[in-house]
């Protein structure tokens, strides 16, 4: 009778336990930001956690979607080993860095470098994309079929901040000072002679 009861309990457990727990290998991502304000001509880094709460070790790679690829710095797809049962509290921290080039055009009176001002009248430039943790592709699919790859993504928007500044007449002021100084110098040298 005792054996029957035990068998019934085991059978009940098999029915009740979610099938998902049998899955063993996975990846996870931890994120604390979805929108970042970044400056032009500057490097900006965002930290992500990657983890594997499942019961098999896995090697995962951090990558970015195509919209963010032009501004990501360096090689982001470095394979990272994640031991089994790495919970989100113990996630491995990965620093993902971006370099945003100059995107807003200055209004200059001479060429694109003299007497410039920035009115920030252009629409805000944004890079909308996602950061993805992928497990390396596995399996061959056999004679006719597919290998598979899985990943988890976190949304990320980079808003490029525009800094307003008035027209810069410094070169003109410096030039006038130099001209007056030089003129005065030569005038008095000539007068002394």
């Amino acid at each position: 009778m005792g054996i029957m009861k035990l068998a019934a309990i085991v059978l009940l457990c098999l029915l009740v336990v979610p099938q998902g727990v049998l899955a063993a290998k996975g990846v996870g991502i931890v994120w604390s930001t979805q929108t970042e304000a970044v400056a032009e001509n500057a490097r900006h880094c965002v930290t992500y956690g990657i983890y594997n709460p499942w019961d098999e070790d896995v090697t995962a790679m951090l990558s970015v979607s195509s919209a963010l690829r032009p501004v990501v710095v360096g090689e982001e797809s470095i394979p990272t080993f994640l031991p089994a049962e790495t919970m989100h509290e113990d996630a491995k921290q990965i620093n993902l860095c971006f370099y945003v080039p100059k995107v807003y055009t200055d209004d200059c009176l001479v060429g694109n470098f003299l007497f410039c001002e920035q009115t920030c009248s252009e629409p805000e430039v944004r890079y909308d994309g996602e950061v993805i943790v992928m497990e390396a592709p596995s399996g061959s699919g056999g004679a006719m079929g597919s290998s598979t790859s899985m990943g988890v993504s976190a949304p990320l928007t980079l808003r490029v901040v525009c800094n307003k500044y008035p027209r810069d007449y410094t070169p003109l002021v410096v030039g006038v000072i130099v001209v007056i100084g030089a003129g005065g110098y030569y005038y008095f040298r000539k007068r002394k002679k």
């Binding site: 899955a23 004679a143 079929g145 990943g151």
Partner: protein, 205 residues
């Protein structure tokens, strides 16, 4: 000589004024301001953190196989593990392809699928409109996931399947392949990508 000194003095005065003016524009601290006021401030902050983890079944990790197809045309050939559960009798005729959402997640997810072109190393290709998948986040039995509700595999961007799958949940998949009569012989392969996004977010490319 007296006139020269006056001109020299005037020029010197102009230079001093211009230099002081120029310098003061670069050093705001030199600018004269009104009475100074003091305020007290305290920083306040809060961080919202999300985390998601998924895993695939061993059979999905091993790849999706359609075996060797010897009769053409072939319509809706089942992937080998579509109905082949032999784990125990209770799972008979259930799919062995699934993605599970870890209970160590704190936000529900939407699940997305896309695939590369399905071709041979020689360049022969089976159009992805012949490669179908279906998913179901609640039921795994002989009927579900079903062919009638299936989608074509897409190449350009991910297609969203089940939505709002909670932590601890499982999403089940089946796959079918059709091969036209005139298809060249060969071994056709690709990679199928599965991606979880936070519920409500776009799947992306």
């Amino acid at each position: 000589m007296d006139t020269e000194n006056k001109i020299l003095g005037l020029l010197a005065a102009i230079l001093v004024v211009m230099i002081v003016g120029t310098v003061s524009t670069f050093i705001p601290q030199l600018q004269i301001t009104g009475a100074q006021t003091y305020t007290q401030q305290t920083e306040s902050n809060a961080t919202i953190q999300y985390y998601i983890s998924i895993s695939s079944s061993g059979n999905l990790s091993d790849g999706i196989s359609f075996g060797t197809i010897t009769t053409l045309p072939a319509t809706d050939v089942n992937a080998t593990k579509n109905y082949n559960s032999t784990v125990n009798d209770n799972w008979y005729n259930e799919t062995l392809y699934w993605i599970a959402v870890s209970s160590d997640s704190n936000t529900p997810v939407d699940l997305c699928v896309k695939g590369d072109r399905f071709n041979t190393s020689g360049g022969e290709e089976i159009d992805l409109t012949n490669y179908n998948w279906s998913d179901n986040a609640t039921t795994n039995n002989y009927t579900w996931p079903d062919l009638a509700g299936s989608y074509n595999l897409t190449n350009e961007s991910y297609l969203k399947g089940s939505t709002d799958v909670a932590a601890g949940g499982t999403n089940y998949y089946r796959f079918w392949l059709s091969v036209p009569a005139a298809q060249a012989a060969g071994t056709y392969n690709n990679t199928v990508y599965f991606k979880a996004v936070q519920a409500g977010q776009a799947c992306g490319t």
